[in-house]
Amino acid sequence: MIYACHLDDLPKGESIRVMADVPIAVFNVDGRLYAVDDTCTHQNASLSDGWLEGCFIECPLHEAAFDLRTGAPTCLPAKRAVRTHAVTVAEDGAVYVHAAVAQPVAEGAA
């Protein structure tokens, strides 16, 4: 598991990017924390820089949106899901990301 930040540093509606085997984006959606792979599955953009609307993150480059609960894209141009990761908050407010096991990197960022 990877230390992401202190909960105080991730207010509602905000996001941060942490480095695991690949960058991971962590979001605070009204008090619930979600983590997904940070790089959009369409081309090269960082979802932590995107526009958060409820449980959906809109990519800052071409506006594909992903459901943070499942990682699934809800519209084109993205066709593939982003990986989701579990997030826990320790008693002291430390936010941890439990990075999913890396998948073989078959597809490069086109």
Partner: protein
């Protein structure tokens, strides 16, 4: 409506086919493409494709569920005419496709250098075939490259050439590239990327001639300066590909003129993407030559096509991006001379900033270099 033909098989054309099915059209659907390729994404052609970081397969636009669209694809033969009297689209090989309705999505074609002879080593970049030819030429030895035109595509090509380690010169006829689009301050910051990355930028002088007999050896500027080059890439703009519509009854004016709902002068014909010129309520017309318009217009056009009247207008704020020298530029809105630039985050001098253009105290456009998060927030605040 029993037969709809979409003419143009790229982002806007595929988008129109998808929108037709999504909006409940169940009749015959034909998509005509001048190129032999299935729809592909053009922006990476001047970026990752030139660098060899993306291949043709990576650019394919089709998604898995597109098979359900049941499209009759007619690829590799351009449309030659629209014959509304016969309700047909006529292809260059004489084939006629019966069409109750037509979506014009033929895009634009790259402009060649006026009056220049045909020489090996001279390229434009619009299609996948163009990009393959240019990439092959850039990989042959270590050519010196001259890019004619310093706008987005020229700058992206120069950036790719610099990344490939090639000696590169950009020649721009205007006093500063992109000043008309970005305003002087931002344009200067962006133009500075060339020098910072070892690319020579020559501004304010048009190209007078290309040199060479069979193969290009360089170019000569109007002031007599010569630039030696083994490869010349011409990036001076594009012209809507609407010649095939001459005599069809459509109003043509550097594109197909249509109403804000993308409907044309002919019932049953709509236009989308680079080929569409929208006449606004105040009578002025404009084309939205961006990926985002090609992506967003088809659902609106299709809605109006199926309704038989204009029930929705395309009213999104124009948005485009450009990747140059590892820096991402994003722009949204409309700016014009006299607007005031206000930097919201970062600094122009660092070439990392987000800023708004203000007119009468109101933000009318937003721009950023490498500030995607701030940019998106500014963009969302712009009124359509």
């Amino acid at each position: 409506m029993k037969a709809v033909t979409v003419v143009g098989a790229s982002l806007a054309g595929l988008g129109a086919a998808r929108a037709l099915r999504e909006q409940g059209y169940t009749g015959a659907l034909t998509v005509v493409g001048a190129e032999r390729h299935a729809p592909y994404d053009r922006p990476p052609l001047s970026k990752d494709f030139l660098l060899g970081k993306a291949e043709a397969a990576d650019l394919a636009l089709a998604a898995e569920d597109d098979a359900a669209l049941e499209v009759d694809w007619r690829l590799g033969t351009p449309a030659a005419a629209l014959a509304p009297g016969r309700r047909a689209v006529v292809l260059a090989d004489g084939t006629e496709i019966a069409s109750d309705a037509v979506v014009v999505a033929t895009g634009a074609a790259a402009l060649p250098l006026p009056g220049a002879p045909r020489l090996a080593g001279v390229h434009t970049l619009r299609t996948l075939d163009d990009a393959e030819a240019l990439r092959a030429d850039l990989a042959a030895g270590s050519p010196r490259v001259a890019v004619v035109g310093g706008s987005f595509i020229g700058a992206e090509i120069a950036s790719a050439c610099a990344a490939l380690g090639l000696e590169t010169t950009v020649v721009e006829a205007a006093p500063a590239p992109l000043a008309a689009v970005l305003g002087p301050e931002v344009a200067a910051a962006v133009a500075g990327l060339h020098a910072a990355n070892g690319v020579r930028l020559l501004c304010g002088t048009p190209v007078a001639a290309l040199t060479g007999t069979d193969r290009v050896t360089g170019l000569v500027l109007a002031d007599g300066r010569a630039v030696a080059a083994d490869v010349v890439v011409v990036g001076i703009g594009a012209r809507p590909a609407v010649d095939w519509l001459a005599g069809s009854g459509l109003e043509l004016d550097r594109g197909v003129v249509c109403d804000p709902g993308l409907r044309t002068a002919l019932p049953g014909v709509v236009a989308v993407g680079d080929a569409a010129r929208v006449r606004r309520a105040d009578g002025t017309t404009a084309r939205a030559e961006h990926w985002s318009a090609a992506n967003d217009q088809p659902p609106v056009a299709v809605r109006n096509l199926l309704a038989g009247r204009t029930v929705a207008a395309y009213a999104r704020v124009p948005y485009f991006w450009s990747d140059q020298y590892g820096v991402r530029l994003q722009f949204a809105g409309h700016t014009r001379p006299g607007d005031t630039l206000r930097v919201v985050e970062g600094a122009l001098a660092d070439r990392a900033f987000a800023a708004v253009y203000e007119r009468d105290g109101r933000a009318v456009a937003a721009v950023a270099l490498d500030r995607p998060r701030a940019f998106t927030r500014l963009r969302k605040g712009l009124a359509a």
